[in-house]
Subunit: 579 residues, 2 copies
């Protein structure tokens, strides 16, 4: 079901019911961009470094579509009922209450969305608003200030002296107002005048007719015109003021908008699932709940208290249990895999009187559809995990989260090596980096130069940091010590251990003397070494021509293009795996 | 006429003719935003400071619509023929050639555009591309690199050793290719494999079948598959390579897109007119011609050499000649004024077989329509200037630019005091600032506190710099010396001359000792002084509730709202005039 500002309020009660009844909810977002051009992720970043880089992006791009699918296990019928919602999300500014936001767009993401049928006109016209807690407080403050101003304005004048040249005009308006009070009329249009004169009239009217007349500026054609209205009584006046505050409060309620849905999900403590869900999770917290903390540990605490049960189908399908069964963890391809043996899907059906998707709908990259197939993927993985452990009945498997336990609160970290994840409710992995070196070299070096340099020690994986630096990982980890010893003598490049580099970055120790340099350049000899070794077994070059398609996940798939000659251009944008 | 990527090429020849034949061209742009939240303009900024602030905005926001109207004076019929074009402008990224741009949007501007019927789906689907000279050079370089790569790839191998575990696979593919060469087939699909294996196959095919087989990766469903094709001859291969380069060159030509139109206008040296045209001009240069220089004088030189004849109807209508005749220089209101006495419009007509607008089309803020009414406004102003000088025949008045001479190359600078302009082909105004003071004060101060402080010396204009600092200008300029002397003794605030503040900012001298402070706070006495003086005659408070509507021009119109109590909130965003 598509939800915009137009039907949001009316739909909220059924969403509330769906949350209450569901077994789990699957989520997906569409964003105006993924990566500012700064903050490149490196394959050997730690989860903490990863987080510190991506929060910068989360603060600049917008969530423009939010997909939710509620899956409810109907035990009697042994079927998963599902209903989906596809929300358009956009917040308009409100004078003095909601900031006139500046947001960033990444052209390739916009292009990707429009190609997948995203309706930007609908977004900007009818998007649903949202506020996080800080924005809501700002809104509340501005209501309080208005209240205060109303209270004060009934007590004191703004104290502006009337310039001599305007005295006649002001007097004439006072006369008009006196006549108006004496008349039978309920409303009077005052003479057109500029903003300063209008301010003077406001002031004089307050002094002279405080409990009898209220003024209001209205836009008439291209002009701003003052209108006077009679108060029937002090009580009526108070009621008008109260109504104004009430209107502001209602409008704030409308502005909280989609944040209510997220808050209800949080309160429900239901299982939440996403596919490659890190960015979705960060944006969900930052936009709809509370600004992301600077510190990674604070984030983990915050995320795990908000979403105590969350799983990531990309993490699950990348794990040991599925390594040999799943060729590709790209969502659409994963879904395909899960529909064949040895996997087995529980039965699914659209919830009665509800709208949802069908697996064959060609709606990929609509957030609602993607949330739906993510949920379906979870069912396939979950069922397999249950069967593996000897449970063959759905009501056993899906009765609780037992089989998902090893995957709970572990969020896949795209681009990092060793299938790393952010473990929201525990310590992260700390994979050995003893076989990884930090290498700096002349910017003329190509990937091949590095491959050849390390060729005596087997194949390498290169994670570019810049044109002239990279982390280089040996495939044969036992070669690390000898490689370091042998290569520490280059004079056109420098090499150090991963640990030392991290320590330098963290400023934990002062810079050690630079590695001993060899007198003779190694580069010349590299040419002759070519094809003598059998070292390269994949794992670098991969980004040189990677797709501009902005869906993070698909950037894993790369290609060399027709010319076949590896180019360094773009290589240091991000290092990724071959498949 | 609406122009998108779909009809741009076909329309270009008639645009070329229109440029050649026109008397002048009027322009207007729609942008994704006007102001990043940094870089606030102050009413007393110099044109140089103004420029340095706004170029930052120009680099971050996009032009999304460009309006052009060509006016041609038909002497025989004594009528101005016009034709209008409304271009949607958006550039998609191209792998390795055109950057995946990140651009900023200002929510209020997006909201404004959508309310005025702007079609974002059309923009993102069918926008016309553009390149400035630097981007074009980058594109050219990448073509050259491809050429070089093609040349080199025919000579040398990429030199990657085949890992033992892949040797069998590679050998089997070589066998397939040999069979293929011996067969009657013209194309062969190779076995699906990962990117590294594809790279190895490229390399081996080049080594073994250089002049006989070409390889190509195609996306088939969700997979990338290698296809082999036979070269019929060395010549055919060369032709294929040449075709590839030619395709890239054609694609570059398409990417230059709308920049061609701007380049043709520049070459024509025709009179260009815009209304409040500074931002239009800056974006036009930066996006379609060449990146804006950092230095203001360099900019003036660049702009005046590109557009040697440009006028700004906002500058003209704000000038002395029109001061008493024009109430509002807001475009729509100016147009209304110009249609009544004492103004007189020359006859206008839509060019034969062309599309244009009618004044009564309700298409305000469509760039094409706004460019049209800008041109019409120029005709009204121009004719009046001619009549004033004693010319009553259109063919005298519009024969050359004589009557526009005083306004040529002077671009209105929004928000600055004294109707300042950027004089592209000469020195800027240097209005006296002897009556302007730089004041710092406790952030609790309200506008009224400052008004009362200066009340002994008449009314003031306050241009806020921050919550705790402002430029304060005396209306009675002859009071400047005595005001400075008297007020130099406050101990809750500090005051200095405008000149001294500028010198400090420019770092021309070290900070002078802070002004002598008076022992007793002036603040207490301010309360008692209230209403004793007759000082305030408008000119401050104006921005406290200014409209969020993002059209620069209309921000001049402000209002106090119903409560009538001036609030400082938002005041220091920008200082503007009452009307």
């Amino acid at each position: 079901m598509e939800v915009t500002q137009a039907n949001f309020k009316a739909t909220l009660p059924e969403i509330e019911t769906a949350i209450k009844n569901c077994t789990f909810v699957s989520i997906d977002t569409e964003l105006t961009g993924l990566k500012t051009s700064l903050n490149k992720i490196n394959a050997f970043d730690t989860p903490k470094q990863y987080y510190e880089k991506v929060i910068k992006d989360c603060r600049q791009f917008l969530v423009v579509q939010y997909g939710l699918t509620f899956f409810r296990y109907d035990e009697a019928a042994d079927v998963f009922k599902h209903k989906s919602y596809n929300f358009y999300i956009f917040r308009k500014p409100v004078r003095n209450c909601v900031t006139d936001q500046r947001f960033l767009c990444q052209t390739s993401c916009i292009d990707f969305l429009i190609k997948n049928g995203f309706d930007f006109n609908k977004l900007f016209k009818d998007g649903i608003s949202y506020l996080n807690n800080v924005e809501e407080d700002m809104y509340k403050n501005s209501i309080e200030e208005t209240e205060k101003r109303i209270r004060e304005s009934s007590n004191k004048s703004s104290g502006i002296s009337i310039p001599a040249e305007h005295q006649d005009f002001v007097d004439s308006v006072v006369k008009e107002l006196q006549d108006f009070l004496a008349s039978e009329e309920n409303e009077k249009e005052l003479p057109k005048c500029n903003a300063f004169l209008r301010l003077l009239i406001y002031q004089v009217a307050k002094e002279k007719f405080q409990d009898q007349i209220s003024l209001e500026t209205r836009v008439v054609g291209k002009d701003r015109i003052l209108f006077a209205k009679k108060y029937k009584s002090q009580i009526e006046r108070m009621e008008i003021d109260e109504k104004k505050i009430e209107d502001m409060q209602n409008s704030m309620n409308d502005y909280i908008g989609f944040s209510k849905v997220i808050r209800m999900i949080i309160e429900s403590e239901k299982l939440v699932v996403g596919h490659n869900v890190m960015l979705d999770l960060l944006h969900t917290i930052h936009k709809f709940v509370t600004p992301l903390p600077e510190d990674y540990d604070d984030f983990k605490e915050c995320a795990s208290s908000l979403f105590p049960k969350i799983v990531d189908t990309k993490h699950i399908s990348s794990s040991e249990s599925f390594k040999d069964l799943v060729n590709s963890t790209v969502l659409a391809q994963l879904l395909e895999t899960l529909q064949k043996e040895p996997f087995e899907m529980p039965k699914i059906e659209v919830e009665e009187n509800s709208l949802s998707y069908n697996i064959n709908d060609a709606k990929e990259h609509e957030a609602g559809y993607d949330s739906f197939i993510t949920g379906v993927a979870l069912l396939g993985l979950w069922k397999y995990l249950g069967i593996e452990k000897g449970s063959f009945h759905n009501d056993d498997i899906f009765a609780n989260l037992e089989f998902l336990k090893p995957y709970l609160n572990k969020i896949f970290l795209m681009y990092l090596s060793d299938n790393q994840y952010a473990h929201l409710s525990g310590p992260d992995l700390n994979p050995s980096r003893e076989h990884v070196f930090y290498l700096t070299f002349p910017k003329e070096w190509t990937p091949n130069t590095i491959v050849q340099l390390f060729s005596p020690f087997g194949g390498v994986y290169i994670a570019w940091l810049s044109e002239a630096s990279a982390f280089v990982a040996l495939h044969k980890k036992d070669q690390a010590a000898v490689a370091l010893k042998t290569l520490s003598q280059g004079d056109t490049y420098s090499i150090m251990t991963f640990a030392k580099r991290q320590a330098l970055l963290a400023g934990l120790r002062t810079i050690a003397p630079s590695p001993i340099k060899r007198r003779k350049s190694i580069e010349g000899s590299l040419q002759t070494k070519r094809r003598k070794t059998n070292s390269f077994d994949g794992g670098s070059f991969s980004s040189s021509k990677r797709s501009i398609e902005p869906i993070v996940e698909e950037e894993q798939q790369t290609d060399q293009g027709a010319s076949g000659s590896p180019s360094k251009q773009g290589l240091f944008e991000v290092a990724s795996n071959w498949d």
